[in-house]
């Protein structure tokens, strides 16, 4: 359904992003999708002249994913958000809120991942 989507591994991520940057793409955002059992899909959306170009990587919760904020500074917020809400361990962010950008330290960890809501239901 989504046009222009490229599946890559997370090792390729920085290289591909660099390429995007070289081709004068604008960074739009990333979307993180929890597929259950700790599997995450991370989509990176780029835009040029109102055309979207997407990258998709697969990762596990807690896995290290390199930050692209050195290439696109504006990715800082969304990467912090992913780290906080999905437990994706993004490393090397330009500004690191230490996993407390949106939530207080007492709050539920990784609240948007699938497993949490089930735990919540049991409570």
């Amino acid at each position: 359904m989504i046009e222009n989507i490229a599946e890559i591994t997370k090792d390729q991520l920085l290289g591909e992003t660099q390429k995007m940057s070289g081709q004068n793409y604008r960074f739009v955002t990333t979307s993180c999708v929890d597929l259950g059992d700790g599997n995450l899909d991370v989509l990176y959306h780029f835009d040029k002249d109102a055309k979207l170009q997407n990258l998709r990587i697969k990762a596990k919760r807690g896995e290290e994913v390199p930050s692209i904020s050195k290439i696109y500074l504006c990715a800082v917020l969304v990467e912090n958000e992913m780290k906080e809400l999905f437990g994706l361990n993004v490393t090397g962010m330009a500004i690191d809120y230490g996993g407390h950008m949106l939530l207080t330290p007492e709050a539920l960890k990784n609240p948007q991942s699938k497993i949490t809501i089930e735990q919540r239901g049991e409570k």
Binding site: M1, I2, R26, A50, L77, I95, H100, L102, Q112
Partner: protein, 358 residues
């Protein structure tokens, strides 16, 4: 050298919404500004996974009260694409009319708050007085002033009667007339220019690489407006993009002011071409698959990533709102500016924190 460190927000009268900044200053010159968010984070994206996709329309409208029409529009367009629903033409035009009315109200609101940020109380009052006219017509056509709830999957919830269409034309003309006075004050007044010209300057390259969207980007000369995608009825209405090149607060004011005129023109054109017929089609089945839907909000591009799983609940609803994309520009604009410019700069991105944090 000891530097001044102060908190700015979350409870602060110039910010209608809670946003926190840690400001480090020398005298009043900002040397470091770190934004902190999280005061409006509700976890709405997760809630969307337990409500059904019809109810989600009301949920996404309440992501933000100021751009609720466009939020709902982006969402229903995404769902409609996923479910391959072809909505009636009249619904497309009605959506445009409401969206543009909403844009007028949002821009007038912003202009008022912006005037307030640089301490021009009378101008603020004037903007909000004129905005009330738009609010009234919104209430008359949709039943509510702010969260209008007109978009549903498959079309719109209501029709606009011909009397109301005439009323809309009358109101937008009046707003256009009132804008003339305010435009003079916003763009030419010496004291206002003192506060806006050259403040928070972003070059075209900076704006683009920081991912600025909407009027922020257009004020820096980045011609980027998703209405060019031609969703809803925008394809049929010839639409002019407002672009300024100065890249400072003044240019952003100018862009938004001129967009109001453009909105007025679009509304009148839409009413002119409004086709007869149904305004909604029945919806059957459940959405499945992935889709990305993008719409131009008053604040810029909003991106919806929707993943359906064939049930009435969605698998994932991801919203990237325009303010989310514009906040990084603050990291560049704030350092080096004066404390007095902080409210001006904060407002110049037209912050909608409830959008940002969902």
């Amino acid at each position: 050298m000891i530097k001044t460190t102060i908190p700015f927000g979350p409870q602060h009268p110039v910010l209608p919404e809670p946003l926190h900044l840690k400001l480090v200053m020398e005298d009043e010159k900002i040397v470091e500004a770190i934004p902190a968010i999280g005061y409006v984070h509700r976890g709405l994206e997760k809630l969307a996974e337990v409500k059904d996709f019809h109810q989600n329309v009301f949920l996404v409208e309440r992501i933000c009260g100021i751009c609720s029409v466009q939020h709902a529009m982006a969402y229903v367009q995404g769902i409609e694409t996923m479910m391959n629903i072809e909505i009636p033409d009249r619904a497309k035009y009605l959506r445009v009319i409401w969206a543009e009315l909403h844009r007028i109200h949002s821009h007038l609101l912003w202009l008022g708050l912006f005037a307030d940020a640089f301490g021009f109380e009378a101008l603020f009052m004037q903007c909000w007085r004129d905005r009330e006219k738009v609010m009234d017509i919104m209430e008359a056509t949709s039943g509510a002033r702010v969260v209008v709830s007109v978009n549903v999957v498959g079309g719109t919830k209501r029709d606009i009667s011909s009397e109301h269409l005439a009323e809309i034309i009358r109101v937008v003309d009046q707003v256009k007339e009132d804008m003339k006075n305010m435009e003079n004050a916003f763009l030419n007044d010496y004291t206002v220019k003192h506060r806006t010209v050259g403040v928070g300057h972003l070059t075209k390259e900076q704006a683009y690489s920081l991912g600025a969207v909407g009027p922020m980007a257009r004020a820096s000369g980045v011609a980027q407006d998703l209405r060019t995608l031609g969703y809803a009825a925008y394809n049929d209405l010839c639409f002019d993009m407002v672009v300024e090149t100065a890249g400072d607060c003044w240019a952003r004011t100018a862009v938004r002011l001129k967009e109001v005129y453009e909105c007025v023109r679009l509304i009148k054109a839409a009413i002119d071409k409004l086709p007869k017929g149904d305004f909604a089609v029945p919806v059957k089945g459940n959405p499945t698959g992935e889709v990305i839907s993008r719409v131009e909000q008053p604040r810029g591009e909003v991106l919806y990533y929707i993943k359906g799983n064939g049930t009435k609940n969605l698998d994932r609803l991801r919203v990237r709102t325009p303010t989310f994309a514009n906040i990084p520009t603050l990291l560049v604009m704030l350092p080096g500016s004066q404390l007095a410019d902080v409210p001006v700069l904060l407002l110049t991105i037209d912050p909608c924190i409830s959008c940002t944090e969902r």
